[in-house]
Amino acid sequence: MPRRTDIRSILVIGSGPIVIGQAAEFDYSGTQALKALRREGYRVILVNSNPATIMTDPEFADATYIEPLTPEIVEQIIARERPEALLPTLGGQTALNLAMALYEGGVLERYGVELIGASPKAIRIAEDRLAFKEAMERAGLEVPHSILARSVEEAVAFADRVGYPVLIRPSFTLGGTGAGIARSREELIDRVDLALRLSPVGSALIEESLLGWKEFELEVMRDRHDNFVVVCAIENLDPMGVHTGDSITLAPAQTLTDKEYQRMRDWGRAVMSAVGVETGGSNVQFAVNPRDGRMRVIEMNPRVSRSSALASKATGFPIAKIAALLAVGYTLDEIRNEITRRTVAAFEPALDYVVVKIPRWAFEKFPGADPTLGPQMKSVGEVMAIGRTFKEALQKAMRGLEIGAKGFEGFPPDRRPADLRQALACPTPDRLRAVHDALMEGMSVEEVSALTGYDPWFVTQMAELVERERALRRYTLSTVPAALLRHAKREGFSDAQLAAFWGCSETEVRRRREAAGIRPRYAQVDTCAAEFEAYTPYLYSTYEESDEAPPTDRPKVVILGSGPNRIGQGIEFDYSCCQAAFALREMGLESIMVNSNPETVSTDYDTSDRLYFEPLTFEDVLNILERERPLGVIVQFGGQTALNLTMPLHRAGARILGTSPDAIDLAEDRGRFSALLRDLDIPQPEHGTATSIEEALDVAQRIGYPVLVRPSYVLGGRAMAICYDEETLRAYMREAVWVSPERPVLIDRFLEDAYEAEVDAVADGKRVVIGGILQHIEEAGVHSGDSACVLPPYKISRYHLQIIEEYTERIALALEVRGLINIQFAIKDDIVYVLEANPRASRTVPFISKATGVPLARIATRVMLGQTLEEIGFTRSPEVRAFFVKEAVLPFRKLPGADAVLGPEMKSTGEVMGWAERFGHAFAKAEMAAGDALPLSGTVLLSVNDFDKGNVLKIARDFHRMGFRLMATRGTAEALRRVGLPVEGVNKVSEGSPHVVDAIREGRVQLILNTPLGPRAYTDGMRIRQAAVRYGVPLLTTLSAAAAAVQAIRAIRDRGFTVKSLQEYYEEALRR
């Protein structure tokens, strides 16, 4: 049966900003689906608030709306575009919830829009835990014992009956928000209270605990003929109790007999029927008791998911694309397998390798947040590795994580926990390190397995690695037998790991290994375990005998990706890497992508001509370069990951395309860069570097407090802080354990109350063209990645803009930039300072590209390959004919205990864009898209520090004039009363009940302005901010953001929102 012809246009909803639990995987899925649907001739309308995505590039849809994902806004889009169908299964939980809201609100019916890919009934059964449980039981499937509680009392009665611990899962929340374990009645009361508040429907599931059971997932697909396939069986290394997004997982499953596996497959099929998923992909999770094989269905997601993205990358089976085709009427047997070209999608991939995924966390950025892993997901990214064996894949994954590990290894000596048993028993990001050390100390496989809940099969594999390590350590580089070296490489040991065992350099190991003829071979991910020939060069390295997909004789370029997502290095970089691949394709060059992140578009096998799914380490990348012999390597787009490889690769003889490694180093090296600025006569904040406490105090003395301190060579402001006095500077230096003569601390004068701006520009060595100037809405001191910003600048004078343009040109020419450069500026007292310059793609490149319609990264790629800007036709800065506001999205709600305050260290996981002709509307849309819709009336709570007590008055008056009631803590209230503003005083928490947190909890506050004071979060302010996060009240932590909010509220009250597609906007801009 061919595709449906009664539908011509389809609305696709994206997943919005990157948040914990919903990340780049939906850009991958969505992009794949958009391509597939357009190839079938449908008109595709996309709405997504996330400008950093590839999917929102205007060429991927016929109409692209970067707008807040709310029912009201999407209804406007439906009214304008009149799509005949809505496909909600590609944008995660956000899209499903939004589609349900549109359905329930009658919008879909009103406009005659058909929901395809999932029916409202199926969505409801899958999401509503009670309905799901009933459906499972009707189908004869076993689920954990549970009740749906609407009150704390119901929950307690149930738990008292089945026994503790019990799990709590609020209904209809994202990525397990609010989920938890209660081990006692007291814990249960507290957690259920929160869960009921977080659930939009006010209910939560209370469930028997399956702690210690093994966890499996099936990625399944079904078409309208009831054809059914399992794409991948994923086994979780971490047993039940750890969210699957936080679990180390692997494929294929390793510890099931066929009978057990087929029972699971039968159940997977029965779940699809029982839920009523007629077409598409779903993820079904199972728990299996390792002692007797009993099985429970845990949950199912009737849509593509993080796991389906992983399964697609792990098998070569593009689930999202096929789900989209099934939704428009195809059946699995009608869809060709693009990898083999002769088989069809109605089959189940066979793997002859092992894939390991390890999540990446960011607890180091959130002091106070609990690093214990549980049912609520906390990781911000993940790495995937492919090896012929579990051992090889595990080692590759560990080194691909970029957490300092060179493979499967233990704790660094200074981080070693005193109690290894505790570290094994408690799931945290470091558990694998604890396993290594415990085995090294001689703990038995049985004991490690009992403590961790890891299946003994996996622990045995790890024990064999430890055993091999022991054997290797008995030798040196010169004495190690070639056979042992070969075994080590086959088991995934990296050259760097071996170098550490033997106290030599990585290069020496490499030379020795190559002399012994031990080199990696490359194998294809082909969906079929080599049964059919594969035509897509999707490759991984391994130490086997045969080698596949030999390099072509075409001219080619290697693009280094950005590895696992982390805070400060996310989807924005993947966007640029993909653009580079597209540009190379346009230029007729072969594009070769190297990356280790399974969530991304860049690791889709058809984004580039060749894909190496490999860790981004010197060894792994150099192996590829030696094999492929490309024209050169692009390092500008892969964030710090790729940049850190630049010098080593350059020294090893690789050709770095674009800006020279030396210029990159110059910009990164504080001393060299500030000398350059002096030469160019460009002001910079006074600064110095220090490698000891004494030096630091001297520098600070000289330049004056407050100072901004940070390590060199980091991204995302890791370990960046503002020190207001000697005491805090001393404390910072004491904790800065990474300091060394090669890695000094950078100390800058902190420019208080300055405006910040940043520029992204492209240069070809002769000409510099600015892509856009962004003004930060938050004042200096908030990391640029966390600050809301606006394009074009709304409060910078023409005079200062000209200076910014001029400095940009001077710096880019001096650095001989060929490609992209990002420069950060601060304006204070009429002086424009340069804070830093980074000759590489920045986080803001996709944002500016969307706002201007100019694909900066593609242009930069052409420049790197020798074209001039003139030849490309990009010689003038694009004009921006509306206001585009970027707002950061913060993860505090997912990380209980963390302080919700912005500072010089970046904390946001994602971004949204709001745009409109007026700044106020654009800002309001951005806030709305970020999940904190500004209130139009109600009470504003003001609690500001002493510095801000003067400037808060104007803001308070504005709120008052708009009819808001004012509430304030003592000091702020006094300041307001002095100017005659009516204000309700409220106690700080330390002043006793009823206090400010009570007011927030009772829903008496609709907006909070709390500016933290100085270097440290004071308890009172922190309580307010935590309450704001916990109870979902919009929180502003800077006065400039508050001023922008005032403008925004005024604008919305004046006139509601309108929407427009990017394509229309670009066309209008052209016509003008």
Partner: protein, 373 residues
């Protein structure tokens, strides 16, 4: 211990031997199933073959008493990438290594199974010699492989069929496909020709209320009819159907009686031969648990378990005699036949699964329903 595999094209793979210490010859095939190595090992259809498992890790779940398709391992040798050093499954009774050693079957691990698979894909199933004994010269092994007579045209069934008829009464027990209600009451009598029958075929018949009598492969038709069965099953089995002219003529006699017949795998090929069609050898056969098969009547696709080296040539089938009911979506080969005027049908794949998906299990119901009760 060292182990060597030598192929007739001269390629030699060196690895570690496990299981029995022995030197053997056989046809080398690969199987892409990711679970169920114990069922594969014990499937009599593999008689005469060395099986290369493409999945990386084999032996993880050991072996147990339930997951056997015959009373012993049937493969000539077993070739894996990584043999598990440990057994981890609640049902396991023994390690794979010990099981193979106990039954005198050699195994080979730490070889590039993907390289072997690609070689077979390109050159077709090959004759090979494998040794886990000391002092074996690779060159001599290559010569052994070349000198071996191979499976073509040979009667391998005589090596695996039972010596005398017997009754089979064991069902699938706790391992029923989801939603299947077994009918323990033996209401119908089915005779199963044992050409190397997998026990799962017998179990699935018992589960459906059949009294099952298993008879040796060379049992004459009239002897079977004397047992007055309600239907006859022609089982799977090893080797080339062209090497079994006697059995083909027995099948022809049975077809003429009008008794309901169900052919599985080799049984399917024998029915085709009996109605005058030819079989031919596939380049490297179908061995795995992921083969998509489309049923012509409904258009629906089943993911099936397969294990065969020969297929029915559709051009030699008389369309007045038989219809092709199923085809393989990977390569378009014939997967199922039904005779037009008789209650006879057959499939090339394995509806009894084990290993493999249960998608085709309802075929047994379709057939059993046709039997008088």
């Amino acid at each position: 211990m060292r182990g060597i595999l030598a192929l007739e094209d001269g390629t030699v793979f060196m690895g570690w031997g496990f299981g029995a210490r022995a030197t053997v010859v056989g046809e080398v095939v690969f199987n892409t199933a990711m679970t169920g190595y114990q069922e594969i090992l014990t499937d009599p259809s593999y008689r005469g073959q060395m099986v290369v498992m493409t999945a990386s890790h084999i032996g993880n779940v050991g072996v147990n008493e339930e997951d056997v398709e015959s009373d012993r391992p049937q493969v000539t040798a077993f070739i894996v990438r990584a043999l598990s050093p440990v057994v981890s499954n609640w049902r396991a009774k023994e390690s794979l290594e010990a099981y193979l050693a106990r039954h005198g079957v050699p195994g080979l691990s730490e070889v590039d199974t993907r390289a072997i698979t690609r070689l077979i894909r390109i050159k077709g199933a090959m004759k090979g010699a494998l040794s886990t004994e000391e002092g074996i010269d690779p060159e001599a092994l290559v010569e052994m492989a070349r000198a071996w007579e191979g499976l073509e045209g040979r009667d391998m069934v005589r090596e695996v069929t039972c010596a005398a008829p017997y009754e089979w009464t064991e069902g699938s027990g706790r391992w029923q496909p989801h939603g299947f209600q077994p009918d323990p009451e033996p209401r119908r009598h089915v005779v199963v020709y044992d050409f190397g029958v997998k026990r799962s075929i017998l179990r699935r018949l018992v589960d459906r209320g059949c009294r099952v009598t298993v008879v040796p492969a060379h049992t004459p038709a009239d002897e079977v009819l004397r047992l007055s069965p309600d239907g006859v099953v022609l089982s799977n089995g090893p080797g080339d159907p062209a090497g079994l002219p006697g059995i083909v003529s027995t099948v022809r006699q049975l077809l003429e009686t009008g008794i309901p017949i169900f052919g599985i795998c080799l049984g399917h090929q024998l029915i085709a031969q009996a109605i005058g069609a030819r079989t031919y050898k596939l380049p490297f056969g179908h061995h795995g648990s992921n083969h998509p098969v489309r049923e012509g009547a409904t258009g629906r696709v089943q993911i099936t378990a397969q294990n065969h080296n020969y297929a029915v040539d559709p051009d030699t089938l008389d369309p007045r005699e038989a219809v092709i009911t199923h085809i393989n979506l990977n390569d378009g080969t014939v997967e199922g036949l039904a005779l037009r005027d008789r209650p006879v049908f057959s499939v090339q794949y394995h509806p009894e699964a084990h290993p493999g998906p249960h998608d085709a299990d309802p075929l047994f119901d379709q057939w059993v329903k046709r039997l008088g009760s």
